[in-house]
Amino acid sequence: MTPRSVTFERWLYFGLVVSTTTTASARFWSILRVDGFSWLKLALFALFAVLVFWIAASFWISALGAYLRWRKPSGAGLPVPEEPENGWSSPSRTAIVVPIHNEDVGALYARLEAICDSLEDARATSLFDLFILSDSTTPDHWILEELAWQRLRERVSLPLYYRHRMDNSGRKSGNIRDFCENWGAAYDYMVVLDADSLMTGQTLARLVALMDANPRAALIQVPPALVGRHSLFARMQQFASSVYGPACWEGLAFLQGPDSNYWGHNAIIRVAPFMQHCGLPALPGRAPLGGEILSHDFVEAALLRRAGWSVWMAPQLGGSFEEPPPTLLQYLKRDRRWCEGNLQHMRLIFARGFRMPNRVHLAFGVMSYLAAPLWLALLIVAGFETFRERRFAPVAYNGIYPVLASPISHQLEFAVLVLIATLLLFGPKFLGLLELWRDPERLRAHGGRLSTLSSVLLESLYSTLLAPIVMLSHASFVLSILTGHSTVWGAQQRSERRVPLLENIRTFLPHTMAAIAGLAAADHFIPACIWWIVPLAAGPLLSIPLALLASSAGAGRLARRWQLFLIPAETGNVPIVRALGERMREHQQIRWPADPVKTVLRDPVARALHLGLLRDSQEAPLARQPGWMSFLADEAALSQHPLREGQ
């Protein structure tokens, strides 16, 4: 396999983005330059140019990807290895590592069981060991994880290990590092999964075969499709990921080639170069912009590339899934963490030795959050400028002296600008739809033409309402981080419980107030422009009911009954997702102890298990406390403990 050069395509892409930006900016300047120059106009123009560049960059990636998928085979990325007749085999040993932190134990083990079953089906269990790397901080999670681990290891044939860490230094990347430092030397590769990750056995085996076949490849990322949620908000995200995602991933994989990125999970990593080159230092200074590197994945990819190893993206493999946040509130909480991690990357963009594509990755990661305050600034500056010019006629005149009544209307320029912006923002959605319609099998799995068209239109409407809400939230995140406020490392809320009304009101009341203030100001100062403001203010104004409706699983089920936002995982075409549903139902039937700590004290089996695992964790502080272990091992002492007797 020889990686192809993509120099021409990268130049072409860069040229398309720049020419789109130039065309739109020139139109905008032709409107601004009338009535002379001002600093406000210059700021408006600069903001406009930066933001058009940003959305043009996203648009052209999807456009290129749609074209490549249209022209099958695209030739992007690494070739997909076929399963050998006598089953998968490899001279290499691979660890599947699952770092966890206070997760829903039943759902986690159901996913792991589905993955193990899929590996059995693919006849690939002999290639893998599975490590559950727990950073859980509550005793209840810890003990339940042990009990569930014990249950699962009786049911699967591949070696299944459990390690609990008392010292959570380095968070997720520290957890992986701890694995590498203790067991990394025993493995050639590791597949990193998140607690909500799902990968098929075939894809896992193919990843190993790809690594075997490409000795300079240090990391292969398989983009995960979103599946497994039922709320309206999550189902719209899943639909968007399933319809628009493939073109975007194809475009990315093609343009990036061996300079691809790492997204933190659903990827295979060559352990030796990772250990040699990806030990992350703490950044100088204090959090939030200093200290531990939070968004470690982009930096690890950059370090591997700096050391001369290649990093690939393999969307063509498929079989890679994760779950989206169930509600808008959880989505924004996750974004608050990611925002902090990505803003740290501002300090790394110009780090010595990184390659240009990695600098672009880091810059795009920063920009994905910095864009929000820039959009907000654009709106505010545009409002001021409109107010300043409200005394002028809505037309300009040819020449310096308007002696001759020869008015020039800006309607055409505005219409062209609106058209360009609409094309850039919504184009990828409709390209994805057209590309879907060309594939009868995929189209059927998404519910047919009418269903997909209605879904795309509704999703576009919803994302239009959502965009200003997210913009306001992201702008506040950026502001809070730049003023020194850091986030805490909490467990992710993955269950689909409905968000309480009060929590929703508390979160989205500022958005509603901002919309009311914006509309009132526009009505007072620039009443002629109020109808330009209304579509922007509608989302934040309705954010409380919108968030409530979107977080509802009932609304999601209703949409499904109406054949809206269907994805292949819901129409039954993805065996591992179907199997996961069965495993989830089984796990819901298990009566896990309501008080796991009491169970350890009362139940000799649970206690023996806990003791055995504690003895394994020689470095754990609890294990170094002989009092705790001897207490658990001492039947006489235990019999005196009040909890033992059910109090």
């Binding site: 050069s5 490590f131 030990g279």
Partner: protein
């Protein structure tokens, strides 16, 4: 210890606890034996105004010979 060993063969709602070896010195069962090896911290020379200018100049200079950091495929890319 003997009483503990008996407990290991017990059935519980969470599965049968087997293959445990709780006494010190016996093989671990939660995890395989450790093979400690170092993962050294990397040096990342981060942003300073001077370094930004230096990097920018390097980027421009490198752009002419290797646009976007792309290099032609090499023999050692093949497998």
């Amino acid at each position: 210890m003997n009483s503990q060993r008996r407990q290991f063969s017990m059935q519980s709602p969470y599965g049968r606890v087997t293959k445990l070896s709780a006494s010190a010195g016996e093989p671990c069962f939660g995890v395989p034996p450790r093979r400690p090896s170092a993962m050294p911290d990397q040096v990342i020379a981060i942003w300073t105004p001077f370094r930004a200018v230096e990097t920018f100049v390097r980027m421009i200079a490198g752009f002419a010979t290797s646009p976007f950091g792309v290099r032609r495929a090499r023999a050692d890319d093949s497998a």
